[in-house]
Structures are given as structure tokens and as C-alpha cells.
Symmetry: C2
Subunit: 447 residues, 2 copies
Amino acid sequence: MNESLQSEEALDRAVGERDLRAASELLAGFSVRQVVDVMERAPRHRVAVIFRLLPKDFALEVFERLDPSVQGELFLGLQDSDVADLFGELDPDDRVSLMDELPALVARRLMQRLTPHERNLTAVILGHRLGSVGRRMSPEYVSTHPHLSVADTIDVVRRHVRTAETIYTLPVTDTGKRLVGVVSLRELMEAAPEARISDVMQRVDFARADDDAEDVSRLCVDLGLLALPIVDRETRLLGILTIDDAHRILLEAEDEDTARAGGTEPLRRPYLTTSVVRIARSRVVWLLVLAMSAILTVQVLEIFEATLEQKVVLALFIPLLTGTGGNTGAQAATTITRALAMGDVRTGDVGKVMLREVRVGVMLGLLLGSLGFVLTSLVYDTPTGVVIGTTLLCVCTMAATVGGAMPMVAKKLGVDPAVFSTPFITTFCDATGLLVYFTIAKVVLGI
Amino acid sequence: MNESLQSEEALDRAVGERDLRAASELLAGFSVRQVVDVMERAPRHRVAVIFRLLPKDFALEVFERLDPSVQGELFLGLQDSDVADLFGELDPDDRVSLMDELPALVARRLMQRLTPHERNLTAVILGHRLGSVGRRMSPEYVSTHPHLSVADTIDVVRRHVRTAETIYTLPVTDTGKRLVGVVSLRELMEAAPEARISDVMQRVDFARADDDAEDVSRLCVDLGLLALPIVDRETRLLGILTIDDAHRILLEAEDEDTARAGGTEPLRRPYLTTSVVRIARSRVVWLLVLAMSAILTVQVLEIFEATLEQKVVLALFIPLLTGTGGNTGAQAATTITRALAMGDVRTGDVGKVMLREVRVGVMLGLLLGSLGFVLTSLVYDTPTGVVIGTTLLCVCTMAATVGGAMPMVAKKLGVDPAVFSTPFITTFCDATGLLVYFTIAKVVLGI
């Protein structure tokens, strides 16, 4: 590990000093993965320099593994003929991902230079809407037919072994190209060579091309399938989704969920090669929305300004109380958002979930409330202790319930649950927590 | 979808009314996945009832897919002989995951009832520490040798096709059982039958059994491998990690990261079957730690109690300012924690990251600060506007920098970055934000 870090630093220096000979000698010792790592961490103008130093076959392998955003930028720094070659060598599904990163004009020109066969394969994918699995499937599958024998099918596999995306899962189609089953290479190896495919094939799990890419990917991974057939509305076979594409799609979805839960938009590209302005842009909308909602807290406090003037000590506990409410709410929201994403909980379970969260909230509130009561009574006085203790109990109960319900309501409304989770709930808990706090204070302290 | 929900509800009713005949008729129409779903959402006492209604082969398939925690509970509700049968049928790696959920005595008794072969396979895995990939690998691989021909190897594959975990990736070992390469079934299909394995095998990526399971899984998925060989310190082959086990390991890791980022411990089991006390327990430690740290905010405010008494209006902005600081910090922490997990950023990049985050923070701070200045000046007065504007600028800059640095420092110290992220940074930003706020207020307002 340390050794590879050293050679990466040496490469950085060599490229920086424009010592291209030293750089290409260093690169010869790198694995594909290392080169990808280096390129995804390098400043933009160096990416093309490094890439041009790679031997041709190796360069293609590296290119295929790069993030589409980096691929797109790299294209702008390469010669036209190199670009066309690379573009032609890509798998159709990867080509479409890259096209989404390119200016429309460039993408169209590149499409025209493809062979008719490659252009057709690409067009099949491009015909589906962004976000659908049709847009991410591979049309390069090997399929077989029910009436063929196992031995014949193995021959078919041998013939397509070089171009197919996978040969381990073979969709079985009837004469109308309709999907009727699936057979794995493993089953073919297990079966007698003269057996018919119709006798060894399995009932098939499949997805429609216009299904959501994330849902289909989760199905594929959950079922432990190496590839899932994708069909049209008449169950005619269009392509396959392989497990590694499914994983890539889930990773993107996870990126989005993680980012949203932290109140930002996903960068959709490696951090170190993203410009500062772009990073700021990914955060600013959320920050503004949250700050605007936080004005609510100012307004709530204004209502109680007279109370505050009479007893300034109440102000000291504001961040503690709102913070605890926010944390309790965030905990519940995180747990439920995750459970929803994993399918452990469904929107129909909202009643069950709220019932559980109320009970969890009361438990946590009783514990924190008694602690708060004892500590505050000791340091200040008993009435203040009663106010803090009661507020903590109420705030925890309320925050857990709302935090648990909010992601489910969001999902029911068709909104990404992560959008409504942590930061939103924190702000909501701040405002309502203050309302509860000062109401209790006024009652208990009689002001 | 709706139809399957209806039959799930009908099953619920049938089991509730102890109408076992109706229940087993309904179950006959369910897929493995549906039964798993139902069982992972059912109250504990019903899980065994449903399971006993399943036909034998189907029951095993369902059992293999259940969460280990649910498997463990189910064991307590089944007869001894059924338990021993199920236990014997599991793959060695799944067996070990289940053993971790069982009382030690029960686990030991079950181990004794295994066949010597199965017991040995299980012991190989049990010998590795929790969290290592050795603990999660499968010892049921098919391997070949460099001097064998392609045709011979395909014969070997055929002979082991029933028991092997995968036949698509074959490790190649020398006479000392040392790993020398890997060959895929695809390459075997492509090669001439009389070719030697030594001519078609590839250089191999592998991992050591004591390597971290999560790191190895990410490597396996990143490289798009269907299986990764696992070796001991002398590079002798011990087992393989398959892509679907790698997925499962990454999913668990993601569960943990998501939970920690929301300030809770992961439940490690389906939400609806987890007791309320257990849910509360997963949150209470974090909540207490955060509440204790929040006492710091009370202490900071105590320092400025005199200032507050002179100008109560300052209290109105406390939640807004601490909230905005917390949000900015959480955004930076979320982005960097994710970038670290994905390998986009390394601990050595801390300088680069902080430089970027300072600039992002200043940009966001300038925007929010000017907005805050204008709005507050209009509603209150210019000096208050200056205080709020300047505070927002300082708080945003500080929060982004600290939020970006914190996960990297945590990782360098060997602590899970998610632990130090969102909730911790929020609390930290609360306290320092208040310090900045009142210091600026004292200077600007001259109190």
C-alpha cells in the first residue's frame, strides 16, 4: 500500500515537471485500478496527459472504469480520432452513460461514426427514459430456445463468448422472442448434453424496461442473480441487467440518499476533481431552505420575548433542548428511512411505526428528563428543573414520533424520504420544541 | 404488487385465527422472497408457525434467505431434529453467521451433530476473527492446476457442480496449494480444449483471510469480480468470497454507516420484529453522549448571561445561528465521509480538503451573511444586522472546515468516520457558534 502511494506521488511529480518518459515508465508498473484512482484524483488538465501515456489496450480498460463525468472531460482533451475509437469500443450501456455527460452536438457526431450494428444497440438503450432500467441494461446477451439441446446451447455460448456481456445466465425465448425462462451455465454443465433446454430451464424473474432502475437493481441483488432479463410490455426480451451494473446503480442511489440525509445534493463525481463552486452549488439550495425555515424559530421566540426578559436563564437551555429534540428526531428518521429503503417497512405500516416510536420516545424522554430534572435542580432550582425535565420528556416523545412518521409520509407522497429526513426534522423539532419549552415554562413558573 | 399484499394480509388473518389449512394453501402460492418478507415482518411467535407450514425443500430455501437474527429466533421455536437438519444443510459460511446469533451451548451442540466433513469446513471459517474476510468466505470452491488441460478442468467443474459455491471463477493452485492464478469458466469456454491452464489463466487479485471483510468486499465489487480467492499468509488458498456475499457485507457496512451518521447504532435486524426496548437501547447511548456535550452550550451561554440580560433580542437568533452552523458542518461531513468510504479521498488529503472546504464555507457564508444582514437590518436595526451577518459568515466558514476535517481525523485515529460526523459536528458547531456570536455582538454593540 505504502509503496503504491509512493509511486503515485512520483508520478504526480513527473507529470508536474513534464518528464513524460519517467511518467510512462512509472505508469507501466500500475494496475488498471491504480491508474483509475490516480486519474480520478488528478487536476483536470493532467488527466489527458496521463491518459495519453497509457498503452492502447490498457488505456481502453482504464477508460471503461472511469467515472462518466471524468470520461466526458477527458474527451475534450483528446484528439478526434482517439475519441471516436474509444467511443466505438465501449459497451453500449456504458456509451449511453457517457453520452449523458457530453454536449448534445458532440454526442450526435460520435453516434454517426459508429458502425451500424453498434449504433443500433446504442439506440435501443437511448430509447428509454433516464432512470429506467432500460437505459442501463445491456443488449449484448446470449439467449437460447426451449427446443434446443444443452449441447447445442453450449455451442451457441462458445460462439458468442467474446462479445456477450455475460454467458453465465442465458434467457430462454420462444419463436416470438418472448421470454419463457432462464438457464444458467451452471445448469447446463450439470445437465446431460442431449437434454432439451425446456427440461432444464427455470421459471424466470424479470423486469420491464420502463421499471425504475434502482428497484430492479435491488431485486437483482436481493435474489442473488448474476443477470436479470429485461423485457418490453409484451415480455419480449430486450436485454439483461448484470449484477455489476446493478451494483453501480445501487451505489449511485446510495450516494444520493447519503447526500440528501446530510442536507446536500450528491456531487455525482469524484470530490477532488470537482470545482469549489460546484461543491458550493450542491449545498446552497438546501442551506437556504433550511435557514428560511429556521426563521420560524426566531418568530416563535419573539412570541415569548417578554417571558425571556423576565427570566433570562431560560435562554441558556435553548440549544440544549432544541439539539436533543433534533437528535432524537434524526435518529428515528434515519432508522425508518433505512428500513423503508431495505423493504423492512412499507408505507402501509405507518400506524405500527408511530406506535413503536411513541413508546421509544417516551422511554428516552423519561430517562433524559429525569437526568435533566436532577441536574438542573441541583445547579439552579427545582422549578427550573421541573421545566427542563418535562420539556425533555415532551420533546423526545414528539421528535421520535414525527421523525418516524415523516419519511413514511414523504414516501407516500412520492417524495424521496431522505429529503424530508434529518435536516428538515431538525428544523421542525427546533421550532416546536421551543413552543413546548416556553409554554411549560410559563405554566410552571407562573410568568 | 397489490395482489400479493392482499394475499399477505389473508395469510396474516389465517395464521392469527389458527386456520392452518387456509394458511398453508395461501403459502403454496408464495415465492421464496415473499415468504421471507412475511416472516421478517411477523411478530416473533408467528414466525415458527408459518415456517412449519412450508414444504421441506422450500423451507430450506426460505431459511437460507432469512436474516441470521430471525434464523436464530426461529431455531428456538422448532423441534430439535428439524433444527439439526436445517443446520446441516446450510452453507458453511451461512452456518457461522447463524452461530454468532445462537447461545454458545446450542451452537456447540449443533456443531457436534454435523458430519465430520461439514464440521471441518465450518471450523475453517470459525478460526478467523469476527470482521475478517476469513469469517465470511466460503470454503466450497473448485480449483484447478496449471498443468491440467482445459478439457480436464471442465470435467472437474462438472464433478463439483452440485456442491461448489460458484463454478464461474476457478482459483489455480500449485502443488503446495499456493494460489498462482485464476481462470474463469468463460475463459475455459473460449479456449481450445487441449490448451493448458497455465496458458489461459490470469494474474490474480486476492485477499488475505485476516483482511477486513468490508475492504475486501469493496475490492471484489470495484473490480467487478464474481469471486475473489482468499489465502493465508503463505498465499495458500483457503476459500473464496463470492460477489453476493460481498454485497451482503457491504450492505451491513452501509447499515452501520447510515445509522451512525444519524446518531444511532444499527439494529442489525428487521425493524418491525425488533422490540421497542432494543430500539431505544440502540439510541440511548448516543443521545446521552450528545446531551452531555450539549451542556457545553449552556456553559458558553452562562458566560454571556450579562450580555443577554442587557439585550434579550440576541436570544431570538440562537436557534437560527446554531442551526445553520450545524447544517453547514453536516453537509461537509457527509460529503467527506462518503468520499472517504468510496476511496475518492484519502487521509493524506486532509490539507487539500480543508483548503477546499474553507473556500466553500466562505462562499456559502458570504451569501447567507449578506441575506441575514439585509433581513435583520430591515426588521430590527443595522447594528443587529451587522452582528447576524458577520456571525453567519464566520459560522459557515468554521463549520464547513471542521465538518470536512473531522471525518478525516477520525479515520486517521482509526475511528469510524461516521461516528464523528453529523451529530457530533452539530453539537460542536452549536458551542463554538455561540462563542463567536456573543463575542461579535459584544464588540459590535459595545456591551
